[in-house]
Amino acid sequence: MSQDERIPAVLTASVADVRYLASLLRGVHFSNMASVTLSRSGLTITVEEARTLVGYAFIFAQVFDEFELHASKPNNPKPNRPRRATNGDAVSDSGSTEPESDEEEPDAPTVEAAFQINLNILIDCLNIFGTAGPLPAPSTAANNFKRWKRDGEGDDDGVHGEDGRANGGRGRIDAYLAGGDGKRTSMRMSYEGDGYPLTLLIAEDANGPTTTCEITTYQVEPHIDLEFDSETVVLRIIFKSSWLRDALSELDPSCEKLTFIANPSVDGPQRPRLNTQPMLRIQADGTHGSTEMDFPNDKEVLETFDCTQRVSFSYRFSHIVRTLRALSSSTKTSLRIDESGLLSLQFLMPKPQSTGADGSDGFVEFRCLALDE
């Protein structure tokens, strides 16, 4: 290939209905600036607050109908040479991206590019025709339960071809076309590389207007890295999001501190006996008083409950409240706390017409540092 030939854009992706994407983005929209990380498995949007709370929205490549990722513009003359995982300096000038090394294949790097973007503007642009409104809260009926992988990030690398095109992406168009209330907004996004804006092409239907947006991208600022230590998990619960949502919405907004208290189950989960200690208690303290909510030792409520020792950690209420938007659109929540008190809340956001448990439903994760007491 000659030097003059156009280097393909780093990212080209398109989706027929932006609503799902918009709802995932809204889930982490508690701050204006977000950093977007592109990798072969999809996009990750990271938002941080107060060096204590970090929200991640994982948008897998399968959410898109088309997802193509190329190596970003390198400094050396050969644009399409496969990148090496450790070749950090060739990824971008800013030097701010370091490939995450947990689960990549030896030949293909995981992080191709990263940039910061104003999330307000991005969501406004997606919603420009007013049709990317919040998705209705998913039904919590048992038959809507989608199996999902707790450590979902790592499992998708194997299915991708070398150019990052998502498998089965085309087939999903049918899922979007089938049934629908009103207009669908479709979108095509592309990102040329470092220093270039994120370009979105949004259209409602063939006859209607089309909108082109170029959103300025900035250099990534390093986020606080809250590593969740899977080895030292002291509490792991999976339950329906509606329980947590109802619990949190009952709380008075003047609360300042939220404490999660859990006790290991005395007996095996099969024969729950009347325990004096609650399995899970959420305690909220504020200037006006305190509230305690106990969750029973019931499989219907707490579908999975693993607790190795008595756990009690507190978090700032205002941070936990930031998770409400994502919580409202999700079906299942996984709550994990490690021994340092780092809380990890993962919300499964099912796609509106997901064809099944293919692990491609997006999810939003929040990690919050505990208050020092």
């Binding site: 406004d124 420009i128 804006p197 209607g208 207007p209 909108t211 082109t212 170029e214 959103i215």
Partner: protein
């Protein structure tokens, strides 16, 4: 000086006032024998927007009688909110009229304020205690079938003929392009999303049916484009078919643009409640003129004309 009329078409008048009330607090109304002019030309208006509208008397009024020393024209200034209030009372809500068989107590409280069906609305120029005002007399039927009379007095200030004569529409050069706008409702949704991004907006159109709205700031560039819009022919264009002041060749693809304040454009878009057809005329880099037709274009029952001056974009 005498004036009285029956307002037949309250809903349309109400919708026009809804648009104008959001624009300017004090409104100038000029009644002539054949037309009602509504003028908003305050300098303090957002973005310098002005409205000059002409409504043919028969499309709103009947039994119209006007008499004055100034060529049978009366020009007055009043509060748009007060006028809107009077019209709101006069608007009857047909749904409030359905007799609910289960609800024996047909008091209507808590359901709808307008629980009367309006039969007649008469507006008169009157003077009480040395204060000139427009008196609205609204007669209606309540749910129980009783006659209800509501009276609204809206204070006005009558302008001297000299001052009235000084009111003139802004001068604009001949527009470069005329284009029929897509439904204002849709336009409004889009412009509302653009509002947090920038203070100014560029509107571009050409004679081939392309209309573009664009915002360009450091943080973001957004451009929305419509294709296939109609470019209506005006009588002026037909006259000027041979000689053109501007360019010898009128390139239909050439985009003419004007930069205006987003807030003033949004104020104009409030007229989506009343418009059926809207034509935008762009005078490149000078101003934007919008003709909002009320009712059928062919009937020409009325036109609201919005003038939005261009913003100098440094």
């Amino acid at each position: 000086m005498r004036f009285r009329a029956n307002i037949d078409n309250v809903p349309t008048f109400f919708r026009i006032m809804q648009t104008l009330e959001k624009l300017q607090k004090r409104l100038i109304i000029k009644f002539t024998e054949t037309t009602m002019h509504l003028i908003c030309n305050s300098d303090t208006n957002e973005g310098g927007i002005q409205v000059w509208s002409q409504i043919k008397v028969p499309s709103l009024f009947s039994k119209y009688r006007i008499q004055s020393n100034a060529n049978n024209e009366i020009t007055l200034v009043l509060s748009s909110e007060a006028l809107l209030g009077a019209l709101r009372s006069a608007s009857s809500n047909p749904s409030g009229l359905t007799i609910n068989p289960n609800n024996g107590n047909a008091n209507g409280q808590g359901n709808n304020v307008n629980s009367i069906e309006t039969e007649e609305v008469i507006v008169r120029l009157t003077k009480k205690n040395e204060q000139a005002m427009l008196s609205f007399e609204i007669t209606g039927l309540s749910r129980l079938g009783r006659t209800v009379r509501v009276a609204h007095d809206v204070r006005i200030e009558v302008l001297k003929p000299l001052d009235a004569a000084r009111l003139g529409e802004p001068l604009c050069p001949a527009p470069d392009v005329h284009v029929l706008l897509p439904p204002l409702q849709k336009l409004r949704t889009i412009v509302e999303r653009l509002r947090p991004m920038s203070n100014i907006l560029a509107l571009r159109a050409n004679n081939s049916g392309v209309l573009q709205i664009a915002v360009n700031t450091e943080g973001v560039k957004v451009e929305t484009e419509w294709r296939g819009c109609t470019n209506p022919k005006t009588s002026e264009e037909e006259e000027n078919a041979d000689g053109d002041e501007d360019e010898g060749e009128k390139d239909p693809e050439k985009l003419h643009s004007v930069v205006i304040s987003i807030k003033s454009f949004l104020k104009f878009l409030n007229s989506h409640v009343v418009s059926t057809t809207t034509i935008a005329c762009i005078c490149q880099h000078h101003c934007l003129i919008l003709y909002v037709y009320i009712g059928d274009v062919a009937d020409a029952g009325g036109v609201l004309t919005f003038y939005i001056p261009a913003v100098i974009d440094e």
